[in-house]
């Protein structure tokens, strides 16, 4: 299901797309590559510097507020980058309240950095994505144990040297893992760059489709993007396998370094600053805007958006989790390399940007449709309309392909808790296979199933390009509404649906932090 769209997209690279493609190559391709490159570089640097330094502060040091910051610095994950993006534009753009206020105070000559430029995108995406690096790096610092650092100290290094020469290199696989997740999100991002009018591959794919009506051109752009995405995926998987070897062994947790005086306040200020910019400010602004327009906008149509989002996310979550359950049983009962490979392959979708998947799903569905239409003509003598194309089914297929890994991972880790000998214990105690599934598997898997479903639910709710590109005509969800409002620059009116999406995003985060505290 994942491989098909990918294969379709990649194979399209071989077919000539004609004029549109030539036009693209001549005019925009160089810009696209440069834009995407600078974006990835900037966000990569930003997330690593911010994520690692904050992780080190909250994991290794002690300063006022550390405990609260330790979990609250994850909160920016709840806000989709495109929401943070339009809030920042709304606030800091030329016509926004901040610059207007400044001009009033100082006069019109004041210089202000251009928000809509490259720097703005990088800043916003860094603020939205650094928690990936933060989470993994912090995990690494916490589990390293103090033995390695003690060894470094006994060899004559002070604690700062120890950090750079021992702790940081040991945490490298985790940092690389977090970085590649952040970069995958960066590449897959559509909403943020669309808000900033910053053209990257995802927006180019969208435009090739909707403005130039050239599916082949879209597919060819997508195939370039996919190559980069898979390179990242390989990097991520390799760093994951290295984690096993670099795992710190033995030794109690390190004693925290107690920061005092000005250093403590600097640490506090940095954490607070990031938290304010990444979470508190956007949420406060969203609430403010939303209150302003609630009376006017909150009408029956909104319940339609809500209902569509809920319905779509709910169905996608149920289908994904059901399939993920089947996959993990397949892996459990047929532990041969082929099954393992197939299962792994079917969870690769999270590395494929939504815009690419939308294109990849659309092409085969168009084939199926034309075939079905032909078959219908033959059998019934009449010409039926398009069957699958532009229906919820096509949308669901794309969602499931993209978010299979999100649903699969928690289920798989729950499945590992049901050991083979538990099955055998149940059977030696006189239970048939069906009863054993009901009384042993279901209760143990329940937690994983719920987590998986919830994560998929939220991700589908946030997903923008797939929804935009495959939805049936007039089928609007919260994400679509956000896109429409922001593309017209009506930030206030985009706030209302954004609040709903952010609230949904908080749910898995609370789960995550609760799990981490255990």
């Amino acid at each position: 299901m994942v491989l098909l769209p990918v294969a379709v997209v990649v194979s399209s690279f071989l077919t000539p797309a004609g004029d549109v493609w030539r036009h693209l190559v001549e005019t925009t391709l160089a810009d696209l590559v440069a834009n995407t490159f600078w974006l990835a570089l900037g966000v990569g640097l930003g997330t690593v510097v911010l994520g690692v330094s904050l992780a080190w502060l909250t994991a290794v040091c002690e300063f006022p507020g550390r405990r609260v910051f330790a979990w609250s610095l994850l909160l920016p994950l709840a806000i989709p980058a495109y929401v943070t993006g339009f809030v920042f534009i709304g606030l800091f753009d030329f016509t926004g309240p901040v610059q207007t206020q400044l001009r009033e105070w100082i006069g019109s000559g004041v210089w202000f950095p251009k928000v809509r430029g490259r720097l703005g995108v990088v800043l916003v995406m860094t603020l939205a994505l650094f928690p990936y690096v933060y989470l993994l790096a912090r995990n690494a610092f916490l589990t390293q144990g103090k033995r390695a650092l003690e060894a470094a100290q006994s060899l004559g290094l002070n604690r700062v040297q120890g950090f750079f020469r021992v702790a940081l290199p040991m945490a490298r696989p985790w940092i690389a893992g977090g970085l590649s997740l952040a970069l995958m999100e960066t590449l897959a991002d559509f909403g943020t760059v669309a808000v900033f009018n910053y053209d990257t591959f995802t927006t180019a794919i969208y435009k090739a489709w909707f403005a130039l009506f050239s599916l082949p051109a879209a597919a060819q752009l997508a195939s370039i993007l996919i190559l980069i995405a898979f390179a990242l995926l390989i990097a991520e998987q390799q760093s994951r396998s290295r984690m096993r070897y670099a795992e710190g062994r033995g030794g109690a947790r390190m004693d925290r370094i107690r920061l005092t005086g000005i250093r403590a306040w600097l640490a506090f200020a940095l954490c607070l600053g990031v938290l304010v910019l990444g979470f508190l400010l956007p949420v406060a602004q969203l609430l403010w805007w939303a209150l302003g327009v609630a009376a006017r906008d909150l009408d029956a149509r909104y319940f339609g958006f809500f209902w569509h989002s809920l319905l779509l996310s709910g169905i996608a979550a149920a289908v994904t989790v059901g399939l993920a359950l089947l996959l993990s049983y397949a892996e459990r009962h047929f532990p041969d390399p082929w099954t393992r490979f197939a299962v792994r392959a079917s969870t690769l979708g999270y590395a494929v940007p939504g815009a690419v998947l939308a294109v990849g799903i659309f092409i085969p569905i168009a084939w199926v449709d034309s075939w079905l239409v032909a078959a219908g003509e033959l059998l019934l003598g009449t010409k039926p309309g398009l069957v699958v194309q532009g229906t919820l089914l096509a949308m669901l297929v794309a969602y499931v392909a993209r978010f299979m890994a999100v649903g699969f991972n928690p289920i798989e880790s729950a499945m590992q808790r049901v050991t083979r000998s538990m099955d055998e214990a149940a059977r030696s105690l006189g239970l048939s296979l069906g009863h054993a599934l009901l009384r042993v598997h279901l209760p143990i898997l329940r937690g994983g199933l719920i987590t998986g479903a919830m994560l998929v639910f939220v991700d589908v709710m946030k997903e923008m390009p797939i929804t935009l590109m495959t939805r049936p005509f007039g089928w609007d969800t919260l994400a679509v509404r956000i896109f429409e409002m922001t593309s017209e620059g009506e930030w206030e009116r985009a706030a209302l649906p954004s609040i709903a999406v952010v609230m949904a995003g908080l749910v898995p985060l609370i789960l995550l932090t609760r799990h981490a505290e255990k």
Binding site: T419, S421, S428, L429, G430, P443, I444
Partner: protein
Amino acid sequence: MRVPRTYHRLMNANDWAPPLATGSTARAAKEVLLDLRAIGHAYGSRVVVRGLSFSLARGTIGCLLGPSGCGKTTVLRCIAGFEAVAEGEIRLGGQVVASPGVHVPPEKRRIGMVFQDYALFPHLTVAENVAFGLHRMPRMERNARVSELLGVVGLELSAATYPHQLSGGQQQRVALARALAPRPDLLLMDEPFSNLDVDLRERLSLEVREILKSQNATAILVTHDQHEAFAIADEIGIMHGGEIQQWDTAYNLYHKPVNRFVADFVGQGVFLDGKVLNSRQVRIEMGVLTGEIPRDCLAGCDACGKGCSVEVLLRPDDVIHDDASPMQAEVLHKAFRGAEILYTLRLPSGEKVLSMVPSHHNHRIGEAIGIRLEADHVVAFRRSESQP
């Protein structure tokens, strides 16, 4: 005596003598509960069990003892019904439960099992775990049985806790109680103590034996630890290469091993060169050993005549330290064991022997001490080319 006789002949074909044939009449009169006849099993092309036979009387605790990879766990899983047999048959209470054409599913065999990792259900309390196999019992009866068993294993106070809150030893006892709850005909235990530390292992294995005997259970234990096997089992089968080498009591395994593998695997000891003098005597460097020479060796000597070379097994308790003895040996190495010291000694010829000496005889390394032989039987094997 007719039944055992038939047995004897049957088993001779496999070059193996079951305790029923050689044992006392009283034991032979007991009902045979489990009977394995020449079973074989292979994973793909790798044969792990071949032509394996043994039987177990009701109320007996048996043990399969062997190094890892010898196929002992596979035998257990065949009996439980988690693996099918490729050859032979398994009878339980006279009824065939497994043969190449028959496979009674595990839940229909009334066999309880204690797993190496205990396999307790993490989502259920201790009491619910024990009650798990009693799903067909009325509630009152079930509760009574659960509290009875928790009493037997000494965990009445932990009934409402979850498995992860218990220590390893306690989890082990919950697993035992859960397996015993439905009153299985046969209880199987797969390395049940391997996850426990050594102290606890010894104590718990004696405790488990008491529990099994109090429940009049028939059980088979699989382990690679001989102390565990000796502590728990009435009869022990030494397994190697997918076959049973010897099925016997612990005493006989130690003092009358039937082949070199068993002699090596069970207990400590050294092999010394010896010459056969006559049907009751063997000369070794330290003197003449008198006793019944095993049939296996005699057959060889009949073939080659008196004076043929054999290898003689000497246990540490066959060599006694005696200051008055004229025979001297040099202390090469010593291992303090608390009540005793295990000395490694070098004989004048350079051959080494082991001697277990009460711990107050504390000698220095390099010192020469007096020793003498004290063995009432001979364990000798034909010299084989494959053994160094």
